[in-house]
Symmetry: C2
Subunit: 440 residues, 2 copies
């Protein structure tokens, strides 16, 4: 019979079970904290109506959308979780309680060209808080608090939240009478990426004069402690309502980030952060691992005025952030930075000697009743091979059952790391394994 070559498509991530378990642990940590902060789970379809997904139109992303080859010609795979959220909130507007705090962790699809570390199918982990018409600014301070908790559990404590507020810049544009605000914002986003002379040239092309350029650069490059940044902004005393609003909001967000227990050392009020996407209107975040800045921002987000304006006239302001799980896992793995606690997927492998399989079945059942993750290995194989199997699967303990153990209603429990082995009653073995499990 002709065989089909078994392989996945290029640009898709697929892991072996041990690596999958490490990724799952990261995912579980993320989800645990999303829940702890009272975000509700939703699970939207991966296939949506093309006209819904592409309502905004244009952009690089729309070229990367996978369409389904189907008579209706109106089915596509989602390319992010934000557009489906907008559609969800607009569609279920009357059945949703606001503020609506939702999380979603799911696969999204982009037909990007093949590149190392870029995937066509990847997980996004999104949280957003959506208000009905209004949403209190203090919500903006909670978002980085969640991210802080997550990365602390992932063993990254040296993390920086770079926070800014778009209203400050837009207010500054007002005060400096800069007209091409959107274009200038896009240029300012490149401050860390291009040479200074190129940068200045770009601003000139966007109709900025020398004085404007100097004031813009002094502003976004201001360095100082968080208190000094706020003092500087207060001293500016610009004649712009928008600027004053931005300053009030940034001050509130900064203060509440502290109340939500983010240490000041992890907060960086950074006037150079703008975020390229044009739908952010207030607070913007980027997040960096200080020891590994080359990885870039590990999650970004911000405040937007109107989530679902393509679908509804209801004004739905929100604030949110997204973690690109697949890419983050790839980057941390590649840089050898996976350093969080991964509990074993399987606690114990039960190996009965020939003729003691039934005893093995009853022991493994008792383990499972005690919520110990246990596998019975009754295949006809040499015991050495079974130990090797436990080793390969990172199973820390084996329980060996033979005549002696059966006669004593006991098991021989062997710690594969230390080599230590002892005969224990089944009950004592359960207590021992539970203690180890909980101690982890």
């Amino acid at each position: 019979m002709n065989k089909v070559q078994p392989s996945i498509l290029p640009g898709f991530m697929e892991l072996l079970p041990n690596d999958q378990h490490v990724l799952d642990t990261m995912r579980n940590i993320i989800e645990k904290h999303f829940k702890k902060y009272a975000f509700l789970h939703i699970d939207t379809p991966i296939i949506e109506r093309s006209d819904v997904l592409l309502a905004k139109g244009g952009g690089e992303t729309s070229k990367q959308v996978y369409h389904i080859d189907h008579e209706s010609k109106n089915m596509s795979l989602r390319f992010d979780l934000t557009v489906p959220l907008a559609r969800y909130v607009a569609e279920h507007y009357h059945d949703i309680e606001f503020p609506f705090r939702r999380y979603q962790i799911g696969k999204v699809y982009r037909g990007e060209r093949n590149q190392k570390g870029r995937y066509k199918e990847f997980y996004q982990c999104d949280i957003d808080i959506i208000g009905n018409d209004v949403l209190d600014i203090r919500n903006d301070a909670e978002i980085p608090a969640i991210i802080y908790d997550i990365f602390r559990e992932l063993n990254f404590t040296n993390i920086s939240f770079h926070i800014n507020n778009r209203k400050l810049l837009n207010g500054l544009f007002e005060a400096l009478e800069i007209n091409q605000g959107e274009e200038v914002l896009r240029i300012l986003d490149k401050i860390k990426k291009v040479r200074k002379d190129v940068f200045v040239e770009m601003l000139k092309e966007a109709d900025c004069n020398d004085q404007q350029i100097n004031q813009l650069m002094d502003f976004i490059l201001f360095k100082g402690s968080n208190q000094e940044v706020l003092q500087m902004l207060n001293r500016m005393d610009l004649q712009s309502e928008l600027f004053r609003e931005g300053l009030f909001e940034l001050t509130e967000v900064y203060e509440y980030m502290g109340l939500f227990n983010i240490p000041d050392a992890n907060i960086c009020l950074d006037l150079s952060i703008t975020r390229g996407l044009d739908y952010y209107t207030g607070t913007v975040y980027e997040t960096f691992l200080n020891d590994y800045e080359s990885i870039g921002s590990i999650c970004s987000g911000g405040r937007y005025e109107n989530l679902a304006l393509n679908y509804t006239n209801n004004k739905l302001p929100g604030v949110g952030i997204s973690i690109g799980l697949t890419r983050l896992f790839y980057q941390l793995s590649a840089a050898n930075l996976i350093n969080y606690d991964v509990t074993p997927a399987i606690d114990v492998l039960v190996i009965p000697m020939l003729g003691y399989e039934k005893y093995g079945a009853s022991v493994v059942t008792k383990f499972r009743e005690a919520n110990i993750t246990a596998q019975l290995h009754v295949e006809e194989q040499k015991i050495k091979k079974k130990f090797n199997y436990a080793d390969k699967l990172n199973i820390p303990y084996v329980a060996i059952l033979g005549e002696e153990e059966y006669n004593k209603s006991s098991i021989s429990l062997k710690n594969l790391e230390t080599g230590h082995q002892e005969i224990l009653s089944v009950e004592d073995a359960i207590s021992c394994l539970k203690e180890i499990k909980q101690g982890k």
Copy 2:
């Protein structure tokens, strides 16, 4: 601005957060037991190469496959989790340890016509144990034990596992000199669905004579206790090696199901169970909720000789079962049979009075540090509206913080179900909420 109608495609399931939480609880129960029985998680791409997915060719399913409209013309959405498993095991054969116990919970896609309760996107929850060349028969007894644990936690104890072994029927065909075995098997699968005279006519058309038909019907319709079924089979003493193998296997599986703690009352050795799919070769299972037989088999599966024969020459026998989560949830909801314990998604809503928002932020942070799921509600709204919000979201407790509470470093904790309210120190409130959470 023109608005796009916000809606999902017909035939897709999407839930509001409260219902989603009920579904998630079911999913978590399933996953918990899969893990407890030492199945390892894998997560294959939803998009696979079309030639891989359709290697087997033909069949109703292949017409329902969604293809991606892409230049490569070789990308499709998976329609089950079995084909991707076969591809995975063949592809990673040298990196997998056997027996390979894997679980996967994921969305699969079938372009079925629109029908109530049938979805084009649905979750399957699969477990399989794959051997390299051989796989011990006692694995077949573990599979229903897992399903039993799951449905017990879902509060269905009156569940029946109908078990048979294909080798018995195939052996009987040998002994009765029935040639069109596959065709006859397909007909026998219809025993419960068609009238007796129609059934007999179908068998005649498959070249069975009256004597063969009588013996077949006596066999598959045999009624008796499990012991009586085994005794009857032993008495038959057929001249067929295959039959003897089937009898040995069925006896082993039955005995070990008991050792894995499935009560005999929940096991039904049922010689009429054949399962339509032609790739089962030994043990076959169907599972029924006895009080709701109209729902049909809630999960089915069995033993197969060769998982990945389309991709590799390695012989990979396996045994597995699949739960169709989306459909099961739909059926149980529609029949009002959701009866398992659903813990609240959010434990407590923290409502600070005007001017006490900062105290609110510090209280909610303490709750979260104690792993209590807590939400801070600082929107400018009447308190009645906030209580109503808690009610709609099924949040059982609210913590109210005003001047008195602030001065005493305490909170007023109100149970929304009983109406009971008391002032507690933050620490006591934490203890109280943790106790309630753990007691659930």
